[in-house]
């Protein structure tokens, strides 16, 4: 086994774990406070990790760092152009189609809740006395008003306000790719001699882990989109419900939602059920088929895609994961939810580094001895 890729027991100490959790939450809070900088920075780091194999390939073919960066920039600009000309119009058309269907979805949800309330009132007289039906109607009217007058305009402003910070991404990514190694050296230069080898090894492990996570995440999103898209297209085919473009778009949204562990998956499943119910009201077989498809994709994810892509790069206890996700959502909203796992992973790796160095008595003793030696040399000839 390659020794450089093995982590040992740095995370065994409860204090280290507390540090990891507190560090994750504080980072998410700070990132949320300066989201206009933190979001582009995180996205540029992700882009750097995803594009590194390409740059390595160019350098393997004999190009210098400058030449490979220039080639990368040229190809990147071309891809952005293609994205603007082809992919964005497609996404916009899909969003437009979905927007057209929103009133229909809303009516279906309205009818479903009203029918359920009526049914409950019929079966349990207590609900009729409590005025369940009128309460549901009142709530639905308020929600509709809120949706039209506040939520949708706010959402539009929120999305538009994201555009300028996102323009920072190519700029930041270029400099991270260009000077990332120098930055790492600068940090390592500050590490005392006694800890140097261990910190270097753990830095390498951290880098491998983050690289594996981000590349895996992208690969898994792609695989999930294809599987869910084709699956949705097939289950809707007998009724002529979804076009292939629409199915793939829904698959993509569900795959991105799955970046948020447990919570995102459940939201994706719920969204799919609502879409199916609104496309074919009362067709419970279709709903069942869509839920089965979702469960099947999760199983394929867990048994095939995850080991193939992300592996166990960021494995933590499910309870901790859920708690961190909820806390991240509370602290940082949507950005917090999406960044919760990568930030937790980075803090776990840092905790590993700190734990291993901190618990190594010999290294600490060596560091103390070196400091003592330097103090003695500095005091030589004085007094």
């Amino acid at each position: 086994m390659d020794r450089t890729s093995s982590f040992s027991s740095g995370l065994n100490h409860p204090l280290v774990w507390i540090g990891v959790i507190v560090g994750t939450l504080i980072s998410l809070y700070v990132m949320h406070a300066i989201w206009w900088l933190s979001l582009p920075l995180v996205l540029s780091i992700i882009i750097c990790y995803v594009s590194k194999p390409f740059l390595q390939e160019l350098r393997r073919r004999g190009l210098t760092q400058g030449q490979s960066l220039f080639t990368y920039l040229l190809i990147g600009s071309f891809l952005i152009l293609v994205c603007i000309l082809i992919v964005l119009p497609w996404v916009a058309s899909q969003i437009y189609e979905l927007r057209e269907q929103v009133p229909m979805y809303w009516e279906q949800v309205h009818a479903f809740l009203e029918n359920t309330a009526k049914d409950l009132e019929k079966r349990f007289p207590g609900f009729r006395e409590a005025g369940l039906m009128s309460l549901v109607e009142r709530q639905l009217d308020t929600s509709e008003e809120m949706l039209v007058s506040k939520i949708l305009p706010d959402l539009a402003i929120y999305v538009i306000s994201w555009i300028p910070p996102l323009l920072l991404i190519p700029y930041l990514a270029f400099f991270i790719l260009k000077d990332g190694v120098q930055f790492k050296r600068l940090i390592l230069r500050g590490v005392p001699n006694a800890y140097f080898e261990k910190v270097l090894l753990l830095f390498h492990n951290l880098d491998t882990q983050v690289k594996q996570y981000f590349r895996g995440l992208f690969a898994m999103t792609f695989l999930d989109t294809i599987t869910l898209g084709i699956g949705l297209y097939l289950i809707g085919m007998p009724l002529g419900l979804f076009g292939i473009g629409q199915s793939l778009f829904l698959g993509l949204v569900c795959a991105i939602l799955a970046w948020v562990p447990y919570l995102g998956t459940a939201t994706g499943c719920l969204m799919m059920v609502i879409v199916c119910l609104s496309q074919a009201p009362g067709n419970w077989l279709l709903v069942l088929a869509s839920v089965c498809l979702f469960v099947a994709v999760r199983v394929i994810d867990d048994f095939f895609y995850t080991p193939m892509t992300i592996g166990k790069s960021l494995s933590s206890h499910p309870l901790l994961t859920v708690l961190i996700v909820f806390a991240a959502g509370y602290i940082g909203g949507v950005i917090g939810l999406l960044l919760a796992m990568p930030v937790l992973g980075i803090w776990m790796a840092l905790g590993e580094v700190f734990g291993q160095v901190w618990m190594d008595e010999r290294l600490r003793a060596r560091h103390r001895a070196t400091r003592q030696l330097r103090r003695t040399h500095a005091q030589k000839g004085l007094l």
């Binding site: 020794r3 393997r60 270097l200 390498h204």
Partner: protein, 164 residues
Amino acid sequence: MIWKKAKENDRLCETLACLHQIPLFSSLSVRELRRLEPIFHDRRYDTGEVIFDQGEEGLGMYVVVSGKVRIFTKAESPDGSEKELALLGTGQFFGELALLDGEKRTASAIAVEPSRLVGFFRPEFLSVLETHGRAGTKISLQLAKLTAFRLRQTLEGPATTSSI
């Protein structure tokens, strides 16, 4: 600022000249050595400072740019007596086998006078093999030659400071 830059350049030239003298990097061109510069770590040690301990996980090799380094083993006997294996000076190197296997160090290294060492470590050596195939192959070949030489020495004569 310019003076600082010039000083850094002098230090870099000194380091690269020293590296070019040792067998592992002697077959590399100056250009190749310059390209590998980001993965060489310049470290300074005071007299009596431990560089690594016997039994510690080995991560890479060190080249002595200036100063002196003592290599020794500790006996397992209760008195813990030490046996000196070598006293290395400018241009000499130690710990090269850790680049290949990352196994535990079989001896300890300590600076016996203020020393400047350049470290070259396994994770970065592996990335050199990935990104700078030509330079990586040259270093690997030299490493293989060195290992063969040590093996021959061990079989034919007394043991040396190999596999630190």
